[in-house]
Symmetry: C2
């Protein structure tokens, strides 16, 4: 299913066509495609080029690993993510590699890497649904995530599926229009609360 954003200002199709589905196709994600998705994450910007990101990835055909990953999610996410062909976890390194000091933008930079992964996926006809709903503690135990690294988001990846496979409540939100506050509400200039003139339409 496609669900392009209805934008107020024109944006590139990779931005417009990105959305977070719950219905995924059975089609597996080819290893070469997965490699390109994480290659896209690799080239994100990061403070001091620290690259504070790591990923744990489980394809559904790797049953043991996939079950472990699924078990980390909260129940509401398990209900639909069980049918995603690929699940992953993004993880942030909390301290800079070169100094050992805390990296205040590590989680920001992981967010950028995840967005690049997602843009690459969109360009290849895949969709990505990220989740904050998972147990950090279970993730740490299940995969042996070491001290100094924190899991950030769980990620479902796959080709679009048929919304009819979803339970009714999920199906409704799958088919609902996409909404966002307009840029005039959050793009300011001069001082807080003053809409930037270019955003004032």
């Amino acid at each position: 299913m496609h669900k392009a954003a209805v934008t107020e200002y024109p944006v590139h199709e990779l931005i417009r066509n990105r959305w977070s589905p719950r219905a995924f196709s059975d089609r597996p994600v080819e290893p070469a495609v997965l490699a390109s998705l994480f290659e896209a994450a690799r080239w994100a910007a990061s403070s001091f080029n620290d690259q504070p990101w790591a990923y744990l990835v489980a394809s559904r055909d790797d049953k043991e690993n996939f079950a472990k990953m699924l078990g980390v999610l909260v129940e509401g996410n398990q209900k639909w993510a069980k049918d995603a062909p690929v699940l992953a976890l993004s993880v942030a390194r909390k301290h800079f590699h070169h100094t050992g000091k805390p990296n205040p933008v590590a989680v920001h930079d992981v967010g950028a890497a995840n967005a690049q992964l997602t843009a690459e996926a969109t360009s290849r006809g895949l969709l990505v649904h990220q989740m904050a709903g998972f147990s950090h503690e279970k993730a740490r135990l299940a995969f042996g995530i070491p001290e100094g690294w924190d899991p950030v988001s769980a990620i479902a990846i796959g080709y679009p599926g048929d919304p009819q496979i979803l339970p009714e409540d999920f199906r409704k939100s799958e088919l609902a229009p996409r909404t966002r506050k307009p840029i005039r509400e959050f793009v300011m200039s001069g001082s807080w609360g003053h809409t930037a003139p270019f955003a004032a339409k």
Copy 2:
């Protein structure tokens, strides 16, 4: 100047061509282009669709506002950012709008919005250089950023410029090859430290 990433796996040109320059052209950024950049940020994914992002933006032709923004940056960044046509600050709302509870992925989601802004910029021939090097306290005072919101990154935006305008140390890094650790070092599967098979090239 163009500085496409030399990738190990193919990625979309918006990913490949994104990099963080210090040399920007004098050419102003058209208001309609700025609107599209922030429209791209608008459509990022966020936990509970909370959209925990806001921006303060200063174009160089708005002298007072630009000087205020520039003054927030650390000295090393001021040296080159003074010539960027547009400076901005991204700001994160720390608590969910719908519950008032802390949003553990707010900064992640701002990172994703910034990456979408950057991809849109790349698609239009602009480049973006984000900076963690600025004073949060000065930013808060200068722009009246309220309690509950935290500045995350400063952002320089513009068309590419000639590296020759830069002081020598910056010019060197501007012309140096782009480097990243390969995905086999950070894409794992099954347990921490085990490279995912698809990433093992």
